[in-house]
């Protein structure tokens, strides 16, 4: 167990605080290491790779625990894997893909840990078909506040199970996770790309066609206004089969499951905000123009699922003040609100170079899980922008008015009232937390900010 006072922030590099960062292993923790951590009244939170945008994986004045990766145990017959919570999706995919398996849900980056994926109940481009990460788990092993390690399933302890999936690490430290996998024939995806001229056309195409694809996501240009408001590039696809590769005479047929994700470049530290309005406008224009009107292609897992992973430390592009990512979901019928929010963001002039629109399917059952049926929009905003707080407060109110909510893994500026209004089962979650952690051992900056503890 190694510990030192460290300044920590999320991927957005905003509101850093100082905590004792403890590097340890599941074995050390379960063999009594928790006693060491409980001596600090400010509590403990687990941290993975720090890819949540705001402050959920930091704990000012307290302890922050990072678990060593741990083993990957694949049951090839059953198609399930049991994996240490500190293992990243990157490591897991490097193990699984060559063996013909894929994770059931992949978020936009491979650089999150399994523990973080459960705690945030992450979603991917297949939510409309497959649900979120928490919908594909057989078992969780957790270290609880009383110092005991317990293996639970959805049937054995439904309260703790659904309070932990999406529970932001505030019910205990997740140490091992058993995941049901998706069989694949190749490491390529067959992807249909369409350029869509405006928001109305996009919503129509997604509504009418998403069900034909396992994966679907749209990139929206949040600089374009007027008749081009919401112009976008829609990409939808599925894992490529060997037959599809053969029909194409694809060179990947020699080794269809080869997987070697590249990192093409890394952003150096200390650069000023490179994402000025003209830069984003130019980038968005290029991105839109380079997309084909309609086109089918084979893409790598990285190219399709994790394009930003090819640029190391891309969060540095926003300069020292950092950025925040705003993600909300509104019900399908709230199209007017969605359009109004897009208009507000475009009019605000806060350039967003990564706006993503996606349709969510049914909820997983996690009491604080984010996905619920509807449209989810994700956008980046530079944290230093003047007047940003007022804009976000307005957007929060618009989202809540139609029964929407905000994603805790992205949240960095909402308030206790906004979360309470968006999560009708919050009180159930608080009651379970009180039961499993009566002394409030688990704590994070986000939990303090949002009155979750």
């Amino acid at each position: 167990m190694r510990s030192q006072l460290t300044e920590l922030s999320g991927w957005g590099r905003t509101s850093p605080t100082v905590a004792t960062l403890v590097d340890t292993s599941t074995q050390e923790l379960t063999a009594g290491g928790l006693a060491f951590l409980t001596s600090n009244r400010r509590g403990v939170i687990a941290r993975g790779l720090g890819r949540a945008y705001g402050d959920p994986a930091q704990n000012a004045g307290g302890n922050v625990v990072r678990l060593a990766p741990g083993p990957i145990l694949l049951d090839d017959e059953a198609g399930v894997v049991t994996v240490g919570a500190g293992v990243s999706l990157d490591e897991l995919l490097r193990h699984l893909v060559p063996r013909g398996w894929f994770i059931p849900v992949s978020p936009g980056t491979r650089f999150v840990t399994i523990g973080g994926a459960v705690a945030s109940d992450v979603h991917g481009k297949n939510h409309h078909v497959d649900g979120s990460f928490g919908s594909h788990l057989d078992q969780l092993t957790m270290l609880l506040a009383d110092g005991r390690s317990r293996a639970i399933t959805a049937a054995s302890d439904p309260d703790l199970w659904w309070a932990t999936i999406g529970g932001m690490g505030l019910t205990g430290i997740i140490t091992d996770v058993t995941i049901r996998l998706l069989p694949i024939e190749s490491s390529l995806c067959v992807v249909d790309t369409e350029r869509v001229p405006n928001l109305e056309a996009l919503l129509e195409r997604m509504e009418s066609g998403d069900h034909r694809y396992r994966y679907s996501v749209a990139w929206i240009d949040l600089v374009a206004s007027g008749s081009g408001l919401g112009r976008s590039v829609l990409t939808r696809g599925d894992h490529a089969t060997v037959d599809q590769l053969a029909a194409d005479g694809h060179k990947a047929l020699r080794d269809p499951l080869a997987f070697g994700p590249p990192e093409l470049a890394a952003i150096p530290p200390g650069i000023p905000n490179a994402l000025s309005r003209p830069a984003v406008r130019a980038f968005n224009e290029l991105w839109y123009r380079k997309a084909p009107k309609e086109h089918r292609s084979f893409e790598s897992i990285t190219g399709f699922f994790h394009p930003l992973d090819m640029i190391g430390e891309w969060n540095r592009l926003y300069g020292s003040k950092g950025f925040l990512q705003y993600q909300f979901v509104v019900p399908f019928e709230a199209v007017d609100t969605l359009r109004e929010i897009v208009k507000r963001v475009v009019a605000s002039g806060y350039a967003s170079f990564l706006a993503i629109l996606k349709r969510f399917g049914p909820e997983s059952g996690g009491l604080l899980s984010f996905p619920t049926p509807g449209w989810t929009l994700t956008l980046d905003l530079p944290a230093g922008a003047a007047g940003l707080g007022a804009l976000l407060a307005d957007l929060d109110a618009m989202v809540l008015e139609v029964g929407g909510r905000h994603y805790l893994a992205k949240d960095a500026t909402t308030t206790p009232e906004v979360i309470r209004a968006g999560y009708p089962r919050l009180d159930e979650w608080l009651a379970i937390r009180k039961r499993v952690d009566p002394d409030g051992l688990w704590a994070s900056d986000q939990a303090r900010r949002l009155a979750l503890v």
Partner: protein, 248 residues
């Protein structure tokens, strides 16, 4: 906890009746602000309804700058009651007379403005270190950058407070606790009521704007108005005869 754009939730103002202290609180009143605690000499004379803080709650506690032995317990008690203190503003202070004939009153002024700033500043620093986050805002003055014959006692207390604050900021580096030292010029307020205005005079609201901007960007020193930084960069080195002439 501050959010990602450094809007605080809980603010403690030491010297809560100060015009500048209240102006700062009013400017920090975003949807994030939940609790303001005004630490004042006479709590029963504060009308909390008159304090502009949006939807946040206002509490008042007793505070005596000269009772240096009480400061540590006071701040610890406030934190126990209201949770983490995101911003602590050191807004108390007196102008005094800078009279060549009154050593006793001058020593009292030094106790309020300097000794009180040191003890409450260290008490605040202890709490912020424990929390691992938070900013102590110290209202210094350009009067301490180069002392004038007309208010040298006040100026000397501000020089001491300023040096204490900037040094404390260095001492706290790496702990998560920060210090923002604020150097306004002449501020039109209750404290300066009746005095002749100096060049570059500002209002409490201008000071508050500068403080909020400094908190947002995580600065360690702000001057109000900003150009005083350059003006005093020169004045600091002006010949004595010139400096005295300017003090007329």
């Amino acid at each position: 906890m501050n959010n990602a754009i450094n809007d605080p939730q809980t603010v403690l103002v030491l010297g809560g009746t100060s015009d500048i202290g209240q102006a700062i609180v009013a400017k920090l009143a975003t949807t994030s602000l939940r609790q303001v605690i005004l630490a004042v000499r006479q709590p029963d004379q504060v009308d909390v309804e008159q304090v502009a803080v949006g939807d946040a709650d206002v509490a008042v506690v007793g505070f005596d700058a000269t009772d240096t032995a009480s400061h540590e317990a006071l701040i610890a008690d406030v934190a126990e009651e209201y949770g983490d203190l995101d911003v602590i503003v050191q807004a108390f202070g007196q102008l005094g007379a800078s009279d060549l004939q009154d050593p006793i009153a001058s020593a009292e002024l030094a106790t309020v403005n300097y000794a009180g700033a040191v003890s409450s500043g260290l008490a605040a620093a202890k709490q912020l270190r424990l929390q691992g986050h938070g900013t102590l805002v110290v209202l210094s003055s350009v009067a301490g950058v180069r002392t004038r014959g007309s208010n040298f006692v006040y100026g000397s207390t501000k020089a001491g407070q300023d040096a204490f604050a900037t040094g404390l900021g260095h001492a706290l580096h790496g702990t998560g606790a920060k210090v923002l030292t604020v150097r306004p010029g002449f501020v039109r307020s209750a404290m300066t009521d009746g005095l002749e205005e100096a060049p570059f005079s500002v209002d409490p609201d201008d000071v508050a704007d500068a403080v909020v901007a400094g908190l947002r960007s995580g600065k360690s020193v702000v001057w109000v108005p900003g150009k005083l930084r350059y003006v005093f960069g020169l004045l600091r080195f002006a010949p004595d005869a010139v400096w005295r002439k300017l003090d007329k």
